[in-house]
């Protein structure tokens, strides 16, 4: 059955949110994962624990604190208001902030593992061939860790698509702005509109499955070229 304009809006919001979140996560997760893979700093375990928190916390807990922090009377909200900006609660930007925190471990951990697996040996070899730090990172680390990047991208994207609790707490349900697919499905079920719920739920299921399958397939393929 065809999607209603409201459902198409929800799909569009979801895809935009997941794409933007994944992009931001790769930009901040890559240096963070690299630092975690390299550092001998004592506080490393502390940072790792903070990064991993979203894995165990109920999303509603994260969403609750974000709501308090980002709301009009929260510390960040007041700061933004003082700067003449809107508070982030119940906005798309707020959703992006929440999603970035919520999906952080799904991007950082595969990258960190991939960087550790690359090891120091090829980097030292590249340094002996006159490659500087940036050069080494982009010509040696990135290609050797590319399975980690594929996994991190797919997991970060898929996990954001599947988000519900955080969105519910800080995004509300504003059509075209913060109403994502998972919320739309929930609304359909609440309204006993099972047919619409089915369409969206099945679509999400297939999308997630195909993405994960492609990731695992590309990893197996990569494994056969690079033992």
């Amino acid at each position: 059955m065809a999607l209603s304009p409201a459902d198409i809006d929800a799909l569009w919001v979801t895809l935009r949110l997941a794409a933007l979140t994944t992009l931001i996560l790769l930009l901040i997760g890559t240096p963070l994962a690299w630092w975690l893979a390299q550092t001998r700093f004592r506080g490393k375990a502390l940072v790792e624990a903070i990064v991993a928190l979203p894995l165990v916390l109920p999303p509603t807990v994260l969403g609750f604190y974000l709501l308090i922090a980002l709301g009009a009377r929260g510390p960040l909200g007041e700061l933004l208001t003082a700067l003449g900006l809107r508070p982030l609660a119940f906005t798309f930007a707020g959703l992006v902030v929440g999603s970035v925190l919520y999906s952080l471990p799904f991007v950082v951990q595969p990258l960190q593992n991939a960087f550790v697996a690359v090891g120091r040996a090829p980097l030292e070899a590249a340094a002996m061939l006159r490659a500087g730090p940036w050069d080494r990172f982009f010509t040696v680390v990135v290609p050797l860790a590319r399975r980690g990047f594929v996994t991190a991208t797919a997991l970060g994207f898929a996990h954001t698509v599947g988000e519900f609790g955080v969105v519910l707490m800080i995004g509300g349900n504003i059509p075209g702005e913060t109403r994502v697919l998972s919320i739309a499905i929930y609304d359909h079920v609440e309204a006993l509109d099972y047919a619409h719920a089915h369409t969206l739920a099945a679509g999400l299921l297939v999308l997630s499955f195909v993405m994960l399958w492609l990731v695992y397939r590309s990893n197996r393929h990569a494994a056969s070229v690079m033992p």
């Binding site: 040996a121 030292e124 590249a126 002996m128 006159r130 500087g132 050069d135 010509t139 070229v225």
Partner: protein, 353 residues
């Protein structure tokens, strides 16, 4: 060429306190038992370890801890071949070579290096399909293309079996001859070092204990080298005659002439001969009608203790070259060997190295 370095590095249960001072071109053999700090010293030279100290190659100071100077590894102009070849697995052989050539601006030398090391047939191969010896050849080529001011080879043959070693040694010799830069060759095989090195630096538990021309150090009775089972002198000579019928060549060493099993060398070539101390026996009179081809008159310089029940004797040949002989303590006493005594050294085996 010149190389001057001194490093101190403290590690848990290990202390490196080493120095190198080399003014002549050629191959410096860094020799010592496993775990004595040879690799660590190389890593300090390369800037891969942050030791305290000083390092200068030619007129460039790479490191001077007192002045807070520390040039990072990629700006030092070091070529290094590690024990494990460390080829980039995401590139084929050609990619690995070009990685070096692009950064050192030596793309015009690529063909020459490929030629020197016979890499042509390997260029399109993925690194994991290469044999151990082939990988080291590629690693060596890559290091040469990085246009180094100092080439460091960290036991490049250690992981290879005897046959692969024989396959790659000639390439190393070719590289050695084609280079005008210092080359530091680390090994715990005396044979390899004797074959390749012009000068030797000996290490023991983190310290450099001696340095000098290889032939001098190998015959120095005060050094632990003379106590090894494979102790032996190194002679440098020139091929004088070829006797294909008996598969022998004659090599002129100072005032003496030695006959050596034939090898792939030409008349006039300069060659190195290694004479194991255990294969040298001594007599007081010139032996008559013996099967031993090389009997040289010599003078005893010193007699010292060797392993249980044995003595090590340092001899001087007519031209001044040093030779070591290991004989039983009893024989040394019965022959009344003492400095200045004239003897005949019977050399049972000579290896062209």
């Amino acid at each position: 060429m010149s190389l001057e370095a001194a490093f101190v590095l403290e590690r848990e249960g290990f202390r490196l306190d080493a120095e190198l001072r080399e003014a002549e071109p050629g191959v410096i053999g860094l020799f010592g038992p496993s775990g004595c700090g040879k690799t660590t010293l190389l890593r300090c030279l390369a800037g891969l370890e942050r030791a305290r100290g000083y390092c200068r190659v030619q007129d460039r100071v790479w490191q001077d801890s007192r002045q807070e100077v520390f040039l990072p590894p990629h700006r030092r102009g070091i070529g290094m071949v590690f024990q494990d070849p460390r080829l980039f697995t995401h590139m084929n052989v050609n990619g690995n070579l070009r990685y070096a050539a692009k950064r050192a601006d030596t793309l015009d030398q690529l063909a020459g290096v490929v030629d020197l090391l016979d890499l042509g047939p390997l260029l399109m191969r993925a690194s994991h399909t290469l044999s151990g010896g082939e990988r080291q050849r590629v690693a060596l080529g890559r290091a040469l293309l990085s246009r180094p001011d100092l080439l460091l080879l960290d036991e490049p043959l250690a992981a290879l079996d005897a046959e692969r070693k024989r396959e790659i040694l000639p390439y190393l010799e070719r590289v050695q001859r084609s280079l005008e830069i210092p080359l530091v060759y680390v090994s715990h095989s005396l044979e390899e070092v004797a074959r390749l090195a012009d000068r030797l630096v000996l290490m023991e538990s983190g310290r450099t204990i001696a340095a000098g021309p290889a032939a001098d150090l190998l015959a120095d009775m005060a050094l632990p080298l003379a106590q090894r089972d494979d102790a032996g002198a190194l002679l440098i000579g020139r091929v004088e005659a070829d006797d294909p019928l008996y598969h022998l060549i004659s090599v002129r060493v100072g005032r003496d002439r030695l006959r050596v099993p034939r090898h792939d060398v030409a008349l006039g070539d300069s060659v190195k001969l290694r004479i194991p101390a255990r294969d040298v026996s001594l007599t007081l009179e010139a032996p008559q009608r013996t099967s031993i081809l090389n009997v040289l008159p010599a003078t005893v310089v010193a007699v010292g203790p060797a392993m249980e029940g044995q003595s090590i004797v340092r001899l001087q040949l007519a031209g001044g070259e040093a030779l070591l002989a290991r004989i039983s303590m009893l024989s040394a006493r019965e022959l009344a060997l003492e400095p200045g005594k004239a003897v005949f050294a019977q050399i049972k085996s000579v290896a062209l190295v």
